[in-house]
C-alpha cells in the first residue's frame, strides 16, 4: 500500500492533468483518476508495480472513464457521442503531451476569464493536490466558500469552453503574469507548506522549477520576469537540505550549515540574476532573486551584506509596495542597524493594520523583542504567531522559543 501512496503523491496531479486533456472535463477526470488508483491498489500488489506507473494510470483512468460513459450511454445521448468520439480518435497518451499537460492545466486554472481568487484556489487544488479544507485554512476562509469558488470556476471553464492548451506566442506574453504568479505560489507552498507535518514539500518545489524551465523554453524571446523567477526559485531551493535538521525541525538561515547548500543551483541562479540585472527594466522577481543571491554568496551569516540587501529591498518596495515586502525590509534593517531600528519599522507596519493575521510578522517582531531582552512582550508576540501557525515544524520552533523565554 505504501508504494501506491508514494505513487499517488508523485504522480496523481500529472495523471489528472493528462486525464483532463483526454476527457475534456475536470470532474470526469477526477473520477477516472480515482478509478485508476483503485485498479492499481487491486492489481499492483498481485502483478507488481508497472515499469511506467504514470502511463499505466493514464491508460487505466481513460479506459475506466470510457467504460463509465458507455454504461451511461444507454440513457444519455451526449455520453454516447463522447464515448464514440473517444473511440474514434483513439487518443493514446503520447509522452511529449504528458510533459506539457501540467502547464496546460495551469494556463486553464489561471485563465483571465476566472476571478483571481478562484484562480488561486483552483490551481492549488488541481495542480498542487491541496485539499479544499487545507486551502481554506491557508486563506482563513470557510471550506464551503472555497469549495464553491472551485465548483464555479470549473463550471465557467466548461461553459465558456476555455481551451485546455498553452496559448500561442503572441497571447502568451499577456497571460504570462498570472502563470508566473501561480508557479511561484506552487513553489511557496512547497518551500514553506502552509499546513501539515512536513515543512518542505520538495516535490512541489521541483515541479515549480521544472514548469518555469518549460515555460522559458516555450517563450518566443527571453523574458526577464520568467528568468528572474527561475533564479529566485533556484536560489531558495539551493538551501533546501540545510533548512531542516534530522528531526524535521526548522533551522534559521544564520544557523544553517552552508556546506549543504546546492552550489550548482546557486551558480545557475546567480548567473541568471546577473544577466537580468544588466537589463534596463528591473522586475520584482529579479530584485527578489538578487536578494536571495546576496544570501547565497555570503560565505558566513556574519559576512552577509545587509547594506546591499536593504538597498535591494528599497528597490523592491518601489516595484511591489506590499506590506510583506516592507516586513522583510524591516528584518534586513534590523540586521544592518540593530533590533531597535527593525522593531520601529515592524511596529509601523502593524499600525497600518494590513498584516495583523500574518504569522511571520508576529514571529519577526517576537524575535526582535527577544533580542532586546523584552521578554514579556516577546512571549506575547510568539503566542500571537503560534495562534496563526498551522504547520507542525513552525509550531515546534515557536514553542521552543516560548519555552526558552519561560524561566
Amino acid at each position: 500500500m505504501t508504494s501506491i501512496d508514494a505513487v499517488w503523491r508523485a504522480e496523481s496531479r500529472r495523471v489528472l492533468a493528462t486525464l483532463i486533456r483526454l476527457l475534456r472535463d475536470f470532474d470526469r477526470a477526477e473520477e477516472a483518476l480515482n478509478d485508476a488508483f483503485l485498479a492499481a491498489a487491486e492489481q499492483w500488489p498481485r502483478d507488481g508495480v508497472p515499469a511506467n506507473p504514470r502511463a499505466w494510470l493514464v491508460s487505466a483512468g481513460r479506459f475506466k472513464a470510457i467504460d463509465r460513459l458507455r454504461r451511461k450511454a444507454r440513457f444519455d445521448r451526449v455520453a454516447a457521442e463522447l464515448a464514440l468520439a473517444d473511440e474514434e480518435t483513439e487518443m493514446a497518451p503520447e509522452p511529449e503531451h504528458i510533459a506539457d499537460d501540467r502547464l496546460r492545466l495551469i494556463f486553464v486554472c489561471c485563465h483571465p476569464e476566472l476571478p483571481p481568487d478562484a484562480q488561486i484556489a483552483l490551481t492549488l487544488r488541481e495542480t498542487c493536490g491541496l485539499l479544499t479544507e487545507e486551502i481554506a485554512a491557508a486563506f482563513l476562509a470557510k471550506p464551503s466558500a472555497i469549495a464553491q469558488r472551485i465548483v464555479r470556476a470549473k463550471s465557467r471553464i466548461r461553459d465558456l469552453g476555455l481551451p485546455y492548451d498553452v496559448p500561442e506566442p503572441e497571447e502568451l506574453a499577456v497571460r504570462l503574469d498570472a502563470v508566473l504568479r501561480t508557479i511561484y505560489l506552487i513553489f511557496n507552498e512547497g518551500y514553506a507548506a502552509s499546513h501539515g507535518t512536513e515543512l518542505v514539500r520538495v516535490d512541489l518545489c521541483d515541479e515549480a522549477i521544472r514548469l518555469c524551465r518549460l515555460l522559458i523554453a516555450l517563450l518566443p524571446e527571453s523574458d526577464s520576469e520568467a528568468e528572474g523567477l527561475l533564479a529566485l526559485m533556484l536560489l531558495q531551493h539551493a538551501r533546501g537540505a540545510a533548512r531542516t535538521d534530522r528531526a524535521g525541525d526548522l533551522v534559521l538561515i544564520a544557523d544553517q550549515d552552508r556546506r549543504l547548500w546546492n552550489r550548482s543551483e546557486i551558480a545557475e541562479g546567480v548567473a541568471l540574476v546577473e544577466g537580468a540585472m544588466a537589463r534596463p527594466v528591473l522586475t520584482a522577481y529579479v530584485i527578489e532573486a538578487a536578494i536571495a543571491a546576496e544570501h547565497a554568496i555570503a560565505p558566513t551569516a556574519e559576512a552577509t551584506d545587509w547594506r546591499e540587501i536593504v538597498q535591494l529591498y528599497d528597490l523592491l518596495r518601489r516595484a511591489d509596495p506590499s506590506p510583506v515586502v516592507a516586513l522583510n525590509r524591516a528584518v534586513a534593517v534590523a540586521m544592518r542597524d540593530g533590533p531597535e531600528a527593525g522593531l520601529r519599522e515592524i511596529n509601523a507596519i502593524l499600525e497600518g493594520g494590513r498584516l495583523d493575521d500574518f504569522r511571520y510578522l508576529h514571529a519577526a517582531r517576537a524575535d526582535l523583542l527577544r533580542r532586546l531582552g523584552r521578554r514579556d512582550e516577546a512571549r506575547a508576540a510568539y503566542a500571537a504567531a503560534l495562534e496563526l501557525t498551522h504547520q507542525a515544524a513552525e509550531q515546534r520552533f515557536i514553542e521552543g522559543r516560548l519555552n526558552e523565554l519561560q524561566d
Binding site: 470532474d27 473520477e31 480515482n34 485539499l131 479544499t132 479544507e133 472555497i146 465548483v151
Partner: protein
C-alpha cells in the same frame, strides 16, 4: 474524510410529476449509484427513509419524555435519505453528491463529519 450527504426533496412534487416507469427508473438509478459508490470505495453507509409524515419527534425535558408527530421543520423539502461517504475533500464530496440521482429533483446537503473529541480526565 467523511461527509454526510443528506437528500432532501418534496415528495408530493416529485412523485406527482413522475409516471410509473419514471419511478421505477429512479429506483434503478438510485440503487445503481449506490453500487457505483461501493465499487469506487466511497460508500460508507446509505439508507432511504420512509415518508416524513411517519416521523416521531422525541424530546426529554426535566426527565419527562414527550413525543410529537414530525416532521421537524415545516418546509416542502423533507429529508428523504442519506449517503455517508468517504472523500478526499469537500470538492470531491460535492462531485459525488452531484451524481446522486435525486440531486436532479431535490437538494443534497453535504456536511463534513465532526468527530466528538474525547476529553481526558472528564467523567464518561
Amino acid at each position: 474524510m467523511r461527509y454526510l450527504c443528506l437528500v432532501h426533496f418534496d415528495g408530493n412534487e416529485v412523485f406527482g410529476k413522475l409516471d410509473a416507469p419514471g419511478k421505477i427508473q429512479l429506483d434503478i438509478d438510485s440503487l445503481g449509484y449506490n453500487e457505483e459508490l461501493e465499487a469506487s470505495g466511497n460508500l460508507v453507509a446509505t439508507q432511504a427513509l420512509q415518508s416524513a409524515n411517519t416521523a416521531v419527534l422525541v424530546r426529554v425535558r426535566e426527565g419527562r419524555v414527550s413525543t410529537t408527530d414530525g416532521p421537524f421543520i415545516e418546509t416542502k423539502e423533507q429529508l428523504a435519505g442519506f449517503i455517508l461517504i468517504e472523500a478526499r475533500d469537500l470538492n470531491e464530496a460535492i462531485r459525488i453528491a452531484s451524481g446522486i440521482p435525486l440531486a436532479k429533483l431535490g437538494t443534497i446537503e453535504v456536511r463534513a463529519i465532526y468527530d466528538i473529541p474525547r476529553h481526558e480526565g472528564a467523567a464518561p
